[in-house]
Amino acid sequence: MKYWTQRLTMVLALMLAVSMLTFASMNVLGDPLFNILGPISGDRKTPENLVKIEAAEKQYYLDKPLPERYVRWLGDFVTGDMGVRFAATGQPPVTELVKERLPRSLWLVFMAQVLALAIAVPWGVWSASRSNSLANKASTVAAFGFVSVPNFALAVILYYIFALKLGLFPLRYDASASFLTRKTQLLLPALTLALPGAAVYQRLLRTDLITTLQEDFILTARAKGVPRRQILFRHALRPSLFSVVTIFGVNAGGMIGGALVVETFFGIPGAGTAIVEAILREDFPVVLALVMIIATGFVVLNFVVDILYSILDPRVRS
């Protein structure tokens, strides 16, 4: 229990550090006033501009020192108010934008990870149990193919085959469709993200499984008459999942990056595209909010991975 309290404290400290760094870099490297008002921000001599500048400074607390602004922002952020956008109108507020865009990306990455595991586990078990066959060599080639083809190329190929030629998936994402339809629309983009992940998981699982299958306890299981299939899934799989679980957590971050490309290609207005638009317009509150949320998700997921270790192996618990 003490261990988990420590871990949780570390997670929170890490989140604070991330937020400070992001907040500081956004404010120090950029010029918020310029981003809000444009060229007039440097002109304090014209009285009417000075009025605008002072009004903006008051509204965005730019007249206050950086630490105070950080604390104000953090207080707002944890209570769910992510502030006002720097865009000319300031509308819609960041919170609204995040609420609209983020769920699509989260669904996309979630579906991609589920698909990746659903593909990788049977694939890995199969290839570990028949490690020398010809089909297995083909599967190795396929795995490396999925890993080495860039996301956008894979997106083009899958789109061409499944959407254009076979017509199994819609050509464009339709944000106004029903919940279930929107999820089916996400399937192809999710598959694009999932295949490279699945290939990596499969390779890791295969290697670990081959090692586990050499263990003495597998011999015991065989000698007591456990059927082959049960040996693979009940005895060998669980102790072989450590690498996969570790990379699963790390890969989630990579998938958010990949989501950006995939969202753009499939025309999904998600968080990935939102963050790119915001960076191009130097709309820092949006960038800050999204970076914070993604970082939180990443850290929490890896915390869950830590918990998973102890579920997978009782020896970690004691």
Partner: protein, 349 residues
């Protein structure tokens, strides 16, 4: 003993294809075991004793393995057959290291319940009840709580008891105990061996006890097979083997272990050299390079395992005139026919 032995192994060989040629891990081994009988298989590391048993059971899953000869188990031929139906069900097996032979991420109760459900078709509840009975029977205290523990929460002796419970769960007719006590400390060793003997008597089970400890073989077996380099060197009823040792290798093994009736500070006599190369071995007796009786004949041709009750493969057996002459001529020459200095053996003389 019944008319037909439970296990009848004749001229059984196991080879492995390697890049350097065929490795003859087991070479022309024959023996029989009747119901309720115990066969001790003795030999140093690499003598082929473990491969012999795993191959008989068909547990070696290698396409490089080649089996020849005959192994009849209860009348059915096992060589080159799929033996999966026998595993756990009719033949049980206990391994050397209880630390690594249990699944570390599965509760021990479940590991015992598996063969019960698999072979006896028990329900989950029946299997749990039976597991607790089995645990009681192998001497595991507070068995109900133990079933819910993981292997790492148990001591080595407890784990080996769990292994025995697993092996005996489906009440096999034949048990292979592959160095069951090698990894345990001496006090636990005795307990485990006594337990095996008691359970064997209770179930009328046949057993092979693989060991490199001649002391264990002496007290707890009906017959002993001494292996070297994949071949049978000597095979006899246990008392006969120890009282009328014929093979120089058996004699050397006996001389290399400490005994209570040795005089104080007596040196042990190690066997010089290392186990033989089993890939493309030279002609002649496999033990000749390390044998103090070795003569020119031993290098040229290989003795066959001869005899009825007491079988051995040696031209110059211990305790015979031929053997005494061979030893005397080697002593006079100062070395054996294979160039081994006799001074190696005369440490304490």
């Amino acid at each position: 003993m019944t008319d037909a032995p439970l296990l009848n192994v004749s001229n059984y060989s196991v080879g492995f294809k390697t890049e350097r040629g065929l490795a003859r891990a087991v070479d022309g081994v024959s023996f029989t075991i009747g119901a309720g009988e115990t066969l001790g298989i003795v030999g140093e590391s690499g003598s082929g004793k473990s491969v012999l048993n795993r191959s008989i059971m068909g547990l070696i899953a290698s396409s490089r393995q080649i089996e020849t000869g005959s192994v009849l188990f209860d009348g059915s031929e096992m060589v080159n057959q799929d033996r999966q139906n026998f595993w756990g069900n009719r033949i049980g097996m206990i391994f050397q290291d209880p630390m690594t032979s249990l699944n570390p991420v599965m509760k021990v109760g479940k590991q015992v319940a598996e063969p019960l459900r698999q072979h006896l078709g028990m329900s989950k509840r029946q299997a749990i009840e039976r597991t607790i009975e089995l645990f009681t029977n192998v001497g595991i205290p507070s068995p109900a709580q133990r079933t819910k523990q993981y292997p790492h929460e148990l001591s080595g002796g407890m784990r080996q008891r769990v292994m025995i419970a697993i092996a005996l769960a489906a009440e096999p007719e034949f048990l292979i105990a592959d160095e069951p006590t090698t990894a345990l400390d001496v006090t636990v060793q005795k307990y485990i061996l006594d337990l095996l003997n008691r359970l064997q008597a209770e179930h009328g089970m046949a057993m092979t006890l693989i060991t490199h400890d001649l002391g264990i073989a002496r007290g707890r077996t009906d017959q002993v097979l001494v292996m070297y380099g994949g071949r049978v060197m000597e095979h006899a009823p246990t008392e006969e083997l120890f009282t009328h040792t014929r093979h120089p290798y058996t004699e050397a093994l006996l001389a290399s272990i400490p005994r209570l009736d040795h005089k104080k500070h007596a040196r042990l006599t190690p066997i010089p050299g290392a186990p033989p190369n089993i890939v493309e071995p030279p002609p002649g007796c496999r033990f000749s390079p390390r044998c103090k009786y070795a003569q020119a004949r031993c290098v040229q041709s290989s003795p066959t395992v001869d005899g009825a009750e007491h079988r051995y493969a040696c031209f110059f057996p211990v305790g015979t005139d031929a053997g005494a002459e061979a030893l005397a001529s080697n002593r006079a020459a100062g070395e054996t026919a294979t160039g081994l200095k006799m001074s190696h053996f005369e440490v304490d003389a």
